[in-house]
Amino acid sequence: MTREEIRDGIFRALTQVAPEADVSRIKPNLRLRDQLDIDSMDLLNFVIGVHKQFKIDIPEADYPQLATLDGFIDYIAKAQSH
């Protein structure tokens, strides 16, 4: 899976949680929570969406690695390579 495909999958999960989010404006190196109006319940639903889409388990302890879009893509790419 390419980084673009992973990014698109992340965006799909994100727009399920925050339909109003304009994903095209997300800056990949900045914290997602600073760019989007999402709360802890949204974050959990987002992680659940990513889990379903990419079939990977994301332990809570790894959440800090998912803070930015780049971090999220790196994490999924790495998980898929294992």
């Binding site: 925050a18 319940m41 889990h51 388990d57 809570e60």
Partner: protein, 398 residues
């Protein structure tokens, strides 16, 4: 014969528009069935029925906007005879509703109870004969008034004030969008709260270190879909503390405190695009954390998708609001009438914490209580908030 009425779905609702019937004349309905969809200023709501029987008559057509309490349909209850009489409709909504500051109690017009307990519960109206006559002359529904006389009795002055207030309040333009109407509805309810409820405020700092550590361990055992958020611990702690201080769990109706036996914690949920609703998590104290999390998650999703049920908007016995995710330190909230208390939580952050002569770094949050002085005082409120703190120190017992 039971009457299915336009429900009052919160202190900020004075009327609703019927969007559609989900049942037709002759259909069997069971208690809890969704029979209609109603549009309020805040959201579209699925309205449940609170009796079992057969739809006998439909009195309101889709598209009609009617005041709270209007009989929309008649339901012949199981084992009871049919009744021919059709109840009179209250004044048409276009003939000027009371200002949106109308108090919550009261909606049913008459007949068999069909609404659940909570905000919809009808209180006997105490009103002087002269006030009653004036209210009738002016077209003011006495149930929309708060009595200031002895024992909450509605006086002539109460009716006169309502009439003045109504005259001074311009009617809302019909074409306002929902965001504006929601803002107005929230504003009206909060203004009423600040005007009528003598608030007191308390705050305390709670050490959440153990709770957060326990949560992390607990979530390791759970699948991603079953993980808990810390907000669920807060909800459960509040619900259990209310068992110890039941006067904070209830309503203030017709001049009287009405503690409720069931604990239905209302949760303030911000909506996409602005505004908020505070639907109830029914029987919050009786659910284990996993169950509570599932129901809480479902409630948040449905609130934001616009598919709440009427009972969820009418049954709350207290409200909890948390602005921790927004980085807020402390929330001093406005009580949602006719409730008598509101609990606020701020963000969890690390701070130096002195205990038993030692300083360490702990994860803490500020909890607040907004209480109604007509029902409780700072002493009991303080004990309640201390109970919330104590319960959060033993998260595995929640």
């Amino acid at each position: 014969m039971a009457e299915f009425v336009m429900p009052q779905l919160g202190a900020d609702m004075s009327a609703g528009k019927l969007l559609q019937w989900r049942k037709k004349v002759g259909d069997l309905v069971q208690r809890g069935d969704i029979v209609a969809d109603v549009e309020t200023d805040k959201a579209d709501i699925e309205v449940e029925v609170f009796c079992t029987g057969t739809i006998e008559k439909i009195l309101i057509e889709p598209g009609e906007k009617v005041p709270v309490g209007t009989v929309m349909a008649l339901i012949r209850e199981e084992g009871k005879p049919a009744v021919a009489e059709v109840p009179a409709r209250p004044q048409d909504i276009t003939a000027a509703l009371p200002a949106p500051t109308a108090p919550v109690p009261t909606p049913r017009l008459r007949g068999t109870p069909v609404a659940p307990s909570g905000a919809l519960e009808v209180a006997r109206i105490h009103i002087s004969p002269v006030a009653k006559k004036l209210a009738a002359d002016l077209g003011i529904d006495p149930v929309s008034l708060s009595g200031t006389g002895p024992g909450g009795r509605i006086t002539l002055e109460d009716v006169q004030r309502a009439a003045q207030s109504r005259a001074a309040t311009p009617a809302a333009p019909a074409e306002l969008d929902r965001a504006t109407r929601m803002r107005q509805a929230i504003g009206a309810a909060m203004a009423r709260s600040k005007r009528e409820i003598p608030h007191y405020y308390l705050s305390t700092t709670i050490d959440m270190t153990q709770a957060i550590a326990w949560l992390a361990r607990e979530n390791l055992k759970r699948s991603v879909e079953d993980r808990l958020v810390y907000g669920v611990l807060l909800l459960k702690a509040v619900a259990l503390a209310l068992r110890e201080y039941p006067e904070l769990n209830g309503l203030f109706v017709a001049g009287k405190a009405m503690p409720k036996p069931e604990i239905h914690v209302g949760v303030a949920i911000s909506l996409r695009g602005g505004g908020l609703v505070a639907p109830a998590v029914h029987n919050t104290d009786r659910q284990d954390l996993g169950q509570l999390m599932r129901n809480f998650r479902d409630l948040v999703q449905r609130a934001r998708a616009g598919s709440l049920r009427s009972s969820e908007l009418s049954d709350s016995t207290i409200t909890v609001t948390s602005l921790g995710d927004q980085g807020v330190e402390a929330v001093f909230g406005v009580i949602y009438p006719p409730q008598v208390a509101l609990v606020g939580f701020g963000k969890i952050g690390e701070r130096p914490w002195a205990s038993q002569g030692q300083i360490s770094v702990r994860s803490v949050l500020t909890a607040t209580l907004s209480g109604d002085h007509r029902v409780s005082d700072g002493h009991r409120g303080g004990l309640f908030i201390a109970a919330v703190d104590r319960l959060l120190q033993e998260p595995s017992q929640l």
